[in-house]
Symmetry: C2
Amino acid sequence: MDQQKRATISDVAKLAGVSITTVSRVMNKNYPVKEATRKKVEKAIEELEFKPNLLARGLIHNKTQTICILTPSIENLFFSEVVKGIDSVIKNKGYTTFLCNTEGDPEQEKLMIDNMKDRSVDGIIAINPRTKNIKSGYYEGISKQIPLVIINGYNRGIHCNYVLNDGEVGTYEALKYLYELGHRDIVFLRGRYSYSYDVKEDIYRKCCEEFKLEFDEDNILIIEDGNGLEAVEQSKAVVEKIIRKNDKVSCLFACNDWMAVGALKAAKALNISVPEEFSIIGFDNTIISQITEPSLTTVDQNMTGLGQISGNRICEIIRDSDKENKKIIIETRLIHRDSVSTKI
Amino acid sequence: MDQQKRATISDVAKLAGVSITTVSRVMNKNYPVKEATRKKVEKAIEELEFKPNLLARGLIHNKTQTICILTPSIENLFFSEVVKGIDSVIKNKGYTTFLCNTEGDPEQEKLMIDNMKDRSVDGIIAINPRTKNIKSGYYEGISKQIPLVIINGYNRGIHCNYVLNDGEVGTYEALKYLYELGHRDIVFLRGRYSYSYDVKEDIYRKCCEEFKLEFDEDNILIIEDGNGLEAVEQSKAVVEKIIRKNDKVSCLFACNDWMAVGALKAAKALNISVPEEFSIIGFDNTIISQITEPSLTTVDQNMTGLGQISGNRICEIIRDSDKENKKIIIETRLIHRDSVSTKI
DNA sequence: TTGTAAGCGTTATCAA
DNA sequence: TTGATAACGCTTACAA
């Protein structure tokens, strides 16, 4: 490594024959500098290819133009869309992103946030943070120390800035749709740990009451792993089991598209045709919902929009050190594709 | 924001009644400190919840325990697997990752690298960087200034550290497999801009010679967008066209799984059954290859491994400021699933 | 075993 | 319009 040492501000000052203060002023254009001096300095800057060291700046201002994105899983297709949305707005404002993959572990989540504080990030966006850390008040504490936006982890009584999908409405619409098509035995499939699953299950239970469906606790299926291939496998297993056991069930609502894929595979394995004999609705409208055969009817979360709004929100909070916490809710929308039969 | 000001080393020193040097020594355990003093200091650290400011450290050492991952597209499923691999090794060594999404734009790529240098990152891993910047020698220059690993962007004569799949062997094996099954008219489907496509096309042409296939330039299909849903759509269109036009073609080799999905959809649209009437091989072994129906026979790149090796390599380079450039090649492996018929 | 002081590369304050 | 100089929070000679 030839590591030609980078020029510093004093190298420039020396070459231009001025003080470092003047060089700083030329760079930042925050104080008047005589035209001739400015020229000299600019020439020296160019010649030495000088670029200011951002660490030094950060040390003074205690601002680093850096935002941390925390996620339980980068394989989650939800994640990449959201990150793309965030990135698209914050990069224009000069921010760079630290990416932290917590692997869904609440303790790692905390450690990584500590690390981010040590690095003086300007703000944190936490995607689907662990319920445990939200409920314990951990995030509420963090939110008092550093600008924070939580995506999809809303908890009543925990005061933070949230941006979230209207999972309740999305779930309700999907279930109502199934009900109106004539379905009476609806299977509900969720992962174990996430607030968003709790919300959906809650709506499911309420729908059963509202629609006067015969409620069967066994129709609530829980898998351990929420995202990725494991979720597909696990979902396939539990769905096969329920279909074998209860031949009345005619459709299924899955809390995300992975699970819906698993359900699709279960039906296929049992030689049950989707949607003719069994209907499936997913959640998220990730790319996989367009790739499956049949393609998945699913609830769109507008994930890019979710990211954009979160990006804007974190910038607002940083700029105004906005005292008011806000809860911004994004609308969802049922996307009709081919995994639900419209005639029953 | 209550922004309770963080304790600094001198707060600790004051509280413990020692000098900041001593505090530093207690933290870093790099010089002897009397047991009693150590206790006092540790107590003060705990009491004030002191954690050192990493910017300040970075400024001194010109090391930040930070690695930049540069990618043209975070939606690319290839990406998330690789990042997961990288992350899994470097996080254990105390590194945190900056994520830079260049959106495939060569100019942004350069700007982002500049930004990363300004932030004193310890190393850069560039996933599928733009051919243009490699060929122009830009990366070779960067590589002399800062530890750099390029994933899948090998160019002969450009001296850098590379980690790459053996796209040549993978392609060859896939094509040979098709040939041995009796296929004589093989369609080749690629994206326009990437060195990896060039390599594969090259092998395709050589295979045509070696297997004495009747070469038809029209059997080489090119789409503009390599990744994501657009690739699926575009592939579907061109594949439909070729099948309509040339009824001799019995199989297709796609340069990645997205394209293979497009081919699958084309066959479906034409009511041609896969694999009975038409065989398809993808490349990458991304999760989607297990989700499609039928599941995709594809070439596994061991993307997680690719990431892990890159992560280890960048750490080596950082540690030893290793002068020797290396080119590490990962083996590929044909994964047999259900999109290729074994009886023909 | 401990402390003083210089230094990392900037910006900000003050005086000239 | 400019320049010393202190500061940001830490590490590290060097001295004691």
